[in-house]
């Protein structure tokens, strides 16, 4: 047995050490800046790790809300007002977010599918539903508008042009708030959304917009996400302003939440004047207009 065997052994020991550390650190829950997983939500006893005891507050929201960047301003503001909570935002499609509420895996929901939200509360999975803010949907498409949607009257009338126009329409197809609104527009137009011209992605707003841009197709998007991603897309606003394209956001504390107080605190905070002011300001510097319009009553 020569030198290389010894150094191989040493290397084994070092690697084992590294892996053991890798094992201990995440299991002990001392990840980069999160408090210990075993934190009890209601106690006042100090832990050895953090000066302020924080409890985990899971906010389930939609991918379009996250992609707009709104949480980057809301979360720090909330945590400053309520330092006892540490927000974790899980962004999935509206359908999945509502499911998280039903399963009790989230503490509070911030989504935009009013009918489904009210159903959730009626079923008892949410304690209440309150209006938070709204933005609108727009139909975006290729800059030269080959199908001539801009001349149509309402959004539904515009969509009615597409099937025979030779242009494609991209749908999120994921039971999200956007998808729900899209389906209701097709219904008003009296058209069955199916066929070669109808492309269903099953993905979030950003992904779907990118796909529509690549294929130079039309797509229904919320204004906030479109503005936030506009620079990476080759699409323009074609149809806007139809009252039918109103997009209302609601907040729902989850009945069976792990962190009941936190969920309620977030819901109360986001309809408060402070949060509503933050929402009214968001996006003005970058886009000249707010991305969301606060309307909590």
């Amino acid at each position: 047995m020569g030198l290389s065997s010894k150094s191989a052994r040493l290397a084994w020991v070092l690697i084992a050490l590294v892996l053991v550390l890798g094992l201990l650190v995440p299991l002990a829950g001392c990840g980069t800046d999160e408090p210990a997983e075993e934190v009890d939500e209601e106690t006042e006893e100090p832990t050895t790790e953090e000066p302020v005891e924080t409890s985990r507050l899971i906010v389930a929201s939609t991918t379009s809300t996250e992609d707009s960047g709104l949480f980057e301003v809301l979360v720090p503001a909330f945590e400053e007002a309520y330092p006892e909570y540490k927000i974790e935002v899980v962004a999935v499609g509206t359908g999945a977010a509502l499911e998280l509420g039903r399963a009790g895996d989230a503490d509070v929901l911030l989504v935009h599918a009013k009918a489904q939200e009210e159903e959730l509360v009626a079923e008892g999975y949410g304690t209440e539903r309150r209006d938070v803010m709204y933005n609108d949907f727009i139909i975006v498409g290729p800059a030269d508008d080959p199908a001539g949607l801009a001349d149509a009257g309402t959004a539904a009338e515009a969509l009615a042009i597409i099937p025979d126009s030779g242009s494609e329409f991209v749908s999120r197809g994921d039971e999200s708030g956007t998808h729900t609104k899209e389906l209701s527009l097709w219904e008003s137009a009296g058209i069955e959304p199916a066929g070669d011209w109808y492309v269903s992605t099953g993905q979030g707003m950003g992904d779907s917009l990118t796909l529509a841009s690549e294929r130079q197709a039309y797509i229904l998007a919320d204004r906030a996400t479109f503005l936030a991603l506009k620079d990476n897309l080759e699409l323009e606003i074609i149809v806007e302003g139809d009252p039918a394209m109103f997009n209302q956001y609601g907040v729902i504390p989850v009945t069976d939440a792990a962190n009941l107080d936190g969920g309620q605190a977030f819901a109360d905070w986001i309809v408060s004047q402070d949060a509503q002011d933050i929402i009214a300001e968001f996006g003005v510097d970058e886009f000249g207009e707010p991305l969301f319009i606060p309307n909590a009553s």
Binding site: G2, S4, S5, S7, A8, A11, W12, I15, V18, L19, V20, G22, L23, V25, P26, L27, G29, G31, T32, D33, E34, E37, I58, T63, D67, E88, V89, V90, A91, V92, R102, A103, G104, D105, Q203, G204, G206, D207, L209, T210, A228, L229, N232, L233, D256, A258
Partner: protein, 234 residues
């Protein structure tokens, strides 16, 4: 080509600027996958050894199962762990969903069949004569195991490398059970998905290059270990 060069340049900028979340994300990926490959090794090598030396009638069924397990789609492993850890699921009380431990569990599920299967193949291909000789010379079962694993160490190392490679690059499981939460469960692969979703392709590619580079470094370390002592063998 220009996009790729831009992406490589952006990779250096991201790393160099010390943008705290990039380093945080890299560290987290290594922690999660490192812990998972360690546990998968602890589980997979002994079990793989036992499978490799076994000689019973239904052995081939087990091997087929293990090989199928190697092809387990990460998103399915994620879904299984998700449903189990959900508060409405059997282990909901642990409140592990959307945490790093949950991600480690899911990745152990993915990596263990890989480590197990490759170890079994490595051990099975060792000449039977060696086992006979060891036993003839009075080796205990444990000593025999140690001898065989040393003899097949290249294959065992390959098993660990396969396990690590499989999980450092996967996104389906960690996305589902981790939730891609900023500051706690975002790892390299889920960050790439996020940037892609937002249309920031050059950032996504830059992160991709960083990920590949990290995997390269880890594999250099593991592979040089695999060949340590090769000088003395012919």
């Amino acid at each position: 080509m220009e996009t790729i060069l831009n992406a490589i340049a952006e990779a250096f900028v991201l790393l160099g600027s010390g943008a705290s979340d990039v380093w945080e994300i890299i560290l987290r990926s290594l922690q999660v996958s490192g812990a998972a490959v360690f546990m998968a090794t602890a589980l997979g090598v002994p079990l793989g050894y036992l499978l490799g030396i076994s000689r019973f009638a239904g052995r081939w069924i087990l091997i087929i199962l293990v090989n199928t397990g190697m092809g387990l789609p990460p998103v399915v492993a994620g879904l299984t762990v998700y449903v189990t850890l959900s508060r409405s699921g059997p282990l909901g009380e642990l409140q592990l969903l959307f945490s790093q431990p949950a991600m480690v569990i899911a990745q152990v599920l993915i990596a263990t069949p890989l480590v197990l299967g490759v170890t079994a193949a490595a051990v099975a291909s060792i000449p039977y004569g060696l086992r006979l000789q060891a036993r003839a010379l009075g080796a205990s079962k444990a000593h025999e195991a140690w001898l065989l694993l040393k003899e097949g160490r290249r294959g065992v190392m390959a098993a660990v490398v396969a396990g690590f490679g499989g999980i450092i690059s996967e996104v389906g499981a960690v996305m589902m059970v981790g939730g891609n939460i900023e500051g706690t469960t975002r790892v390299m692969t889920t960050a790439i998905v996020l940037e892609t979703r937002k249309g920031n392709f050059s950032t996504a590619m830059a992160l991709g290059f960083i990920l590949i580079f990290i995997a390269l470094i880890v594999n250099i370390a593991l592979t040089s270990l695999q060949h340590a002592g090769a000088r003395y063998e012919r």
